[in-house]
């Protein structure tokens, strides 16, 4: 059963790649310019890039950690992100007020990479908990056979979390620097600031307990899931509360 799911996931992989490449082939789904520029402004291009980052990280984790089963989650997620990007439109939603420069490009690139790594940490944590449950319950079925070993998933979670948090942090700091230097100061909504700081704090806590308190295994997996859930929930809440706010995501 899981073999077929894995094949379906690989199919979605291909679909997500095809969708992301569609603009290059001249299909009208999006402008070619938007995907050529990593730092495209607007949700569509950013989601598309996020999907690409996920796919690249998935390939990396397959090659380095032989964690092929991660594709069961990353591929549908990447496919879904690209689909959503197409629905939103891959053309830039807005032009940054001070134009594009290296600060801006790095800000978006690192932020998206950070989010992709956090998503990978979330996925590996979910796989860890599934495999943990199977091993504890002494069920030796498809999950036991096809999912990676616990320690490998724990290591993937650790690496993704420890790399993702600094990437996201630097991405945010670059945004602040960009705003101060090129856009005439910070124009951030107080709610965005408060909830952004809260999310950063939660993510920081998950990394802190991993690195400083040496959490591992199930506790670390739960912490990782909490961190990613905080990112997604705060993002969705802000999006719903303030639609159309000018930012890349």
């Amino acid at each position: 059963m899981l073999v077929y799911l894995h094949l379906a996931a690989l199919g979605l992989y291909g679909l997500s790649a095809a969708l992301a490449l569609a603009p290059f082939a001249g299909f009208p789904v999006a402008s070619r310019r938007s995907t050529l520029w990593v730092a495209g402004v607007g949700a569509g291009p950013a989601l598309s890039v996020l999907a690409w980052c996920l796919v690249l990280l998935q390939i990396g984790s397959e090659l380095l950690l032989r964690a092929a089963a991660v594709a069961l989650f990353t591929a549908p997620l990447a496919g879904g992100l690209v689909g959503l990007a197409l629905l939103l439109g891959l053309a830039p939603g807005a032009q940054p007020s001070a134009g594009r420069n290296m600060w801006f490009i790095l800000h978006v690139t690192l932020s998206v990479l950070g989010l992709a790594l956090l998503a990978l940490a979330f996925i590996s944590a979910a796989l860890y908990l599934l495999q943990f449950r199977e091993l504890k319950a002494k069920r030796f079925g498809q999950v036991f056979q096809l999912f990676p070993p616990l320690e490998r998933l724990d290591r993937l979670n650790h690496v993704a979390l420890v790399a993702g948090f600094p990437a996201l942090t630097v991405g945010v700091l670059l945004a602040v620097g960009y705003a101060v230097r090129y856009a005439g100061g910070m124009h951030v909504d107080p709610a965005q600031l408060v909830w952004g700081s809260f999310t950063w704090g939660v993510l920081g806590w998950t990394v802190w307990v991993r690195v400083a308190r040496h959490w591992a295994g199930r506790r670390a997996a739960f912490a990782s899931i909490v961190g990613f859930a905080a990112v997604v929930l705060v993002y969705v809440a802000l999006k719903l509360a303030q639609p159309g706010t000018e930012r890349f995501l």
Binding site: P148, E151, W215, R218
Partner: protein, 425 residues
């Protein structure tokens, strides 16, 4: 004459029941003696973690009851003798079916892990332990069973793949740790299974760092072989804080790894997983230990379930293995039938000769006038006549025994002439 097997196995009884029936080697002679007292010419007790079986030669009617009573006492425990019966968990086979059963056991066809090879050694051990009480028929039967097991493993692929309990232990540990290279293992007890599993782990790169046993000397002997440090059991509990894998295989009749003993050490592990492989029957590890965070506890049944998955690939070899078993059953039965023909023919001849002697004596009493030479002639005539009558049946019976059909004819002969019943003329 007959052969029977009575026992319980993994198909008929769960582990909690089987572990009560398990006999240590030193218990075998006493248990066999009790069963043989009920009336049997010989017996072998095969007791492993998966089965406890009494193989009996020429068992009398009271023997099954003796076996179920003996096992029932173990099921009930001391103090309430005989209150619970073992019979609902048991089975019985006779004659050809009993022989076939042993051959299938020895070939690994009846194992929980199809085709596993450890049973071969266990059959040998049972035979050697029971040898003084086995008798010639079971001696031959167990010898042939070992040959059947070897033949099946050589001529089929039933024994290929990693479907044994030790290899399943490695597979489970690998699912927790990924690479086993550099992982540390602690061995509790000095059982053969633990040694086997330890050698499998070492082959994967794990290091056996500690060996603990009730007797320090035995622990040291194994530790020296594996390049590890020897401990007594009481010294081992604190090492649950730092070891990755614990292999338990003591001969203790109750759980030695208890929550109270190891929970404090395990609490200090942080989030690091601990894999405990309990290979002992009765189990060494209290089930509550498995409830501790990040502790993965597997007993023999669990590991056999893992190994059973590999067995699926072996199922294709079953027809070939069964063919060998059936061939060998017929061969043994031919020998066994032939063995029975000689004493039966002797008894048959003696019975008819007695009839002849009585009738000749009666005739000679009527012909008192005959001279001694004629009386002698008459006696010789009756003997020649008897030999003529017996010649064909004797030749036919011996030929049938050579062809492996002697037993059926023998049974007919016994029935027709009332042999072994002592109800002749």
């Amino acid at each position: 004459m007959s052969i029977a097997v009575l026992g319980v196995n993994h198909r008929t009884a769960p582990l909690e029941v089987r572990e009560r029936f398990a006999h240590a080697l030193h218990e075998v002679p006493g248990a066999l003696a009790r069963v043989l007292e009920a009336g049997a010419a010989g017996g072998v007790l095969l007791s492993t973690c998966n089965r406890t079986e009494f193989y009996l030669a020429e068992p009398q009617e009271a023997v099954p009851e003796a076996v179920w009573t003996l096992l029932g006492e173990r099921l009930s425990g001391r103090g309430d003798r005989g209150e619970r019966s073992a019979q609902p968990y048991g089975y019985a086979e006779r004659d050809r079916d009993a022989v076939r059963h042993l051959y299938r056991v020895s070939a690994g066809l009846d194992s929980m892990v199809l085709g596993e090879s450890q049973i071969q050694g266990q059959v040998r051990e049972a035979w050697e332990t029971s040898r003084p009480q086995a008798g010639p028929v079971l001696h031959r039967l167990f010898q042939s069973a070992l040959l059947v097991g070897a033949r099946v493993r050589t001529e089929t692929k039933l024994g290929t793949g990693t479907a044994s309990v030790p290899s399943a232990a490695v597979a489970v540990a690998s699912k927790i740790f990924g690479e086993l290279a550099g992982r540390s293992a602690l061995i509790l007890g000095a059982g053969d299974m633990a040694e086997l599993a330890a050698s499998c782990l070492v082959a994967e790169g794990a290091r056996v760092t500690l060996v603990a046993n009730r007797t320090y000397e035995r622990a040291r002997a194994i530790a020296e072989q594996l390049g590890a440090r020897a401990l007594t059991l009481d010294e081992a509990w604190s090492h649950f804080a730092d070891t990755d894998i614990a292999l338990c295989s003591t001969a203790a009749p109750h759980a030695v790894v208890t929550w109270e003993r190891v929970a404090p050490a395990i609490a200090g592990r942080g989030g690091r997983p601990l894999c405990i492989l309990d290979l002992a029957v009765p189990r060494d590890v209290e089930p509550a230990v498995g409830q501790l965070e990040n502790v993965f506890l597997y007993d023999v049944d669990d590991l056999q379930a893992v190994a059973g998955q590999a067995a699926a690939q072996r199922r294709g070899e079953i027809p070939a293995a069964e063919h060998i078993v059936n061939e060998e059953v017929e061969r043994f039965w031919a020998w066994y039938g032939g063995l029975a023909v000689v004493p039966a023919l002797k008894e048959f001849r003696e019975r008819l000769d007695a009839v002849r002697a009585v009738e000749v004596d009666r005739a000679l009493r009527r012909f008192k006038h005959l001279p001694p030479e004629d009386r002698e002639q008459l006696d010789q005539f009756s003997k020649a006549l008897l030999n003529k009558f017996l010649h064909e049946p004797t030749v036919a019976l011996k030929a049938a025994a050579d062809r492996g059909r002697g037993y059926a004819l023998l049974e007919a002969l016994k029935e027709l002439f009332g042999l072994e019943r002592g109800d002749g003329p």
